[in-house]
Symmetry: C3
Subunit: 294 residues, 3 copies
């Protein structure tokens, strides 16, 4: 048994962006934080958020939230750089377990859902420093370093009403389970396709329970490109329970429902590859799951 | 002259996986290790192992082994996540020079060859914690942090017989040099194609000596797609000794024989680009080298 | 207002290369530095310099220079590995603000422009250690670790004349503004295309002033693939001031003139995508900007 962790007191800066890995943007931000807060490590969550895809960045922050320790989240996905959109530092309420206390980034909805997951925003400071076309380097990194070393928030700007924060991108609200022509069914939406091709839906396992789909049970799923009869799917507890090429549904490591194939891409199995110019490939597609004998 | 290094006493966690760089998997593992072992840096070896390619991960670990300092190797290439394959921590015998003492990961052959290179497995602990579909985060990272901070192995699980460890993927055993119709020749196998297109073979320079191929000597090589007369090749000591587009053979920085082109891709020069669905592109191809006048 | 930073005393190693992110090269260099200098963090600037593109590496170092703190720059873009080209450590004069004191890498022009930006080379040490085909691991990393921990330069090799350093790749010297058939115009060269498709030119904003192009003013630009009438462009202060798909020119975060499109790729808008086998895609293209009513 792995011993339970004592929450680390040492703060880190957790860094997410759409800067990519080709240019020096990420490295320069690391250098700026190190100059100002040399004892605080910068831990990269990802810099491969699709350019300007606020919803994908927000979703990743929510997935990461339960696993981060003390410190500051520095997140930059910022199509509005240079506009009137505000730069903010958000203090979260904390929770029973340790986690990041501050979130720093643009006030465009990127941080809002993570703040909610971390207990809610109890304070929002409007970062009033000079702007550039590289706010990550010039505004957000210095603010994150300042907060990570215990600096006073009042040195960064003035308090604003937390209720005025930019709203999180509203996902489609999953509808209730219904009894369709062929049996109980539900409709969900693709929330994430990871690098292995696993297709995470925006629902938890209780939605599978609603349509009476327990581990071992079978059903069919449809996406826009599916044949009329749909694609057979079986609920399993682990990838390895699936046969070669078989589509499965399981509760993934984030506690969400995911469509998967063992050692292969479920996104490709479902032809979920059509690029969407705005969102990550596959994300946003509607998926219907019905308890039909495959 | 660069002064000789005193072996560092400070442990690190050396992290290799097939997680890729798009998703947050690597960052979350860093965050988990930092929470549990804030003073221990995590050094990324690579996370671009082809998905589930245990042999490629094993080969990279072997190449890295001589260059790592004290600490723990955390390696995850794990097609069997969720199956009965065991999670293990392997203690190595050490050697005359400092190096990692523990290897943590799945017991699927990934760690076996590296353990041998590091002096052999003297102890294997079966990690008995709860499983998830993200063992890297939930099982391996906490175990690595625990061992890197000097925690007792007994807290992680029970000892098992080192001889029961998963076998390393057996590579093709290079055959002996023979005298072919056109002169002395040998057959080797492509072990690695790096990002520059250098083609490392699974043989050391003593095999070139066997066919009497000294620096400056010429020969011909054949892969599956080569023309009947083969491709001329010259043994050199450095890339820069080659003419534009000329194929060379040299002893690379790992002490292995490699086919190279100066400032260009030898893999492309040899048409070694056909993707193999299971292994890394080009890896596993057979290469024949014969002392034929080009 | 973000408080002004006190220059950090803690040195770092700032690491740039063309090693890519697939192989273990970067990780092994990190491991070597950590063994020799465990208290010194290695900050990656980028490892995705196009293979052997010295000019692209040099340009990135120059862009990074104003933002780095104390320490050592370790830069490896090295088509001449194994040749007589020297390995060097360059001590810079420093400046009014803190920055890296030493630059370590090949003497092939890669470091020269950065040394100039950092106040000029006051001392150059010829690194006389044994060579391999992986000098980054075997020569440069140990030297950088040695200098970052305050080791004596004399232990690394012998002093050579700073004036003998390899010359920086000369960029095309931007010509003077002229009055063309249709009005004042200038000719510049593409210096960098970043991952968002922003096209940085090799000129500062004073060149726009020369042709009387102030914020809000319009002009036309031509690249090799442009239609005869050119492409309309408007000078703006921020991406967000542009309409959908509109081409803009602004002063970017490096203080250079850049062609941009809001939330889209200016390189693609200008058809600047033709790959050049030697340089980064798009880099080196000539751009003509003329004050013609669009």
């Amino acid at each position: 048994v792995v011993p339970e962790a004592a929450p680390a007191e040492s703060p880190a800066v957790f860094f997410l962006s759409d800067y990519g890995s080709v240019d020096e943007f990420v490295g320069v931000v690391h250098a700026v934080v190190y100059r100002l807060a040399p004892g605080v490590p910068v831990i990269d969550l990802s810099h491969r958020i699709p350019p300007f895809d606020i919803a994908a960045g927000s979703a990743m922050l929510v997935r990461c939230a339960p696993h981060l320790g003390a410190g500051v989240v520095l997140a930059v996905v910022d199509p509005g750089v240079g506009t009137a959109r505000r730069a903010v530092a958000v203090e979260t309420a904390g929770s029973t377990r340790a986690g990041p206390r501050w979130l720093v980034g643009p006030d465009n909805g990127l941080l809002t859902a993570m703040a909610t997951v971390l207990g809610g925003a109890v304070r929002v400071v409007h970062l009033e420093g000079a702007r550039s076309t590289f706010d990550g380097r010039d505004v957000f990194a210095p603010a994150a370093a300042h907060l990570a070393t215990g600096g006073a928030p009042t040195a960064l700007g003035t308090d604003i009403d937390p209720a005025s924060m930019g709203a999180a991108t509203p996902g489609p609200a999953p509808g209730p389970a219904v009894v369709g022509p062929e049996g109980p069914e539900l409709v969900a939406t693709v929330a994430w396709v990871d690098g292995f091709g696993n297709v995470q839906l925006d629902i938890g396992p209780e939605r599978l329970d609603e349509i009476g789909m327990s581990p071992g049970d079978t059903a069919r799923v449809w996406v826009a490109t599916s044949p009329p009869e749909g694609v057979p799917v079986r609920r399993v507890a682990a990838f390895a329970a699936l046969g070669a090429g078989e589509l499965g549904v399981l509760v993934d490591a984030n506690g969400r429902v995911a469509l998967v194939v063992d050692r292969a891409s479920a996104a490709r199995r479902l032809d979920l590859v059509a690029p969407d110019p705005v969102r990550s490939p596959g994300v946003g597609h509607e998926v219907r799951v019905a308890r039909v004998r495959p």
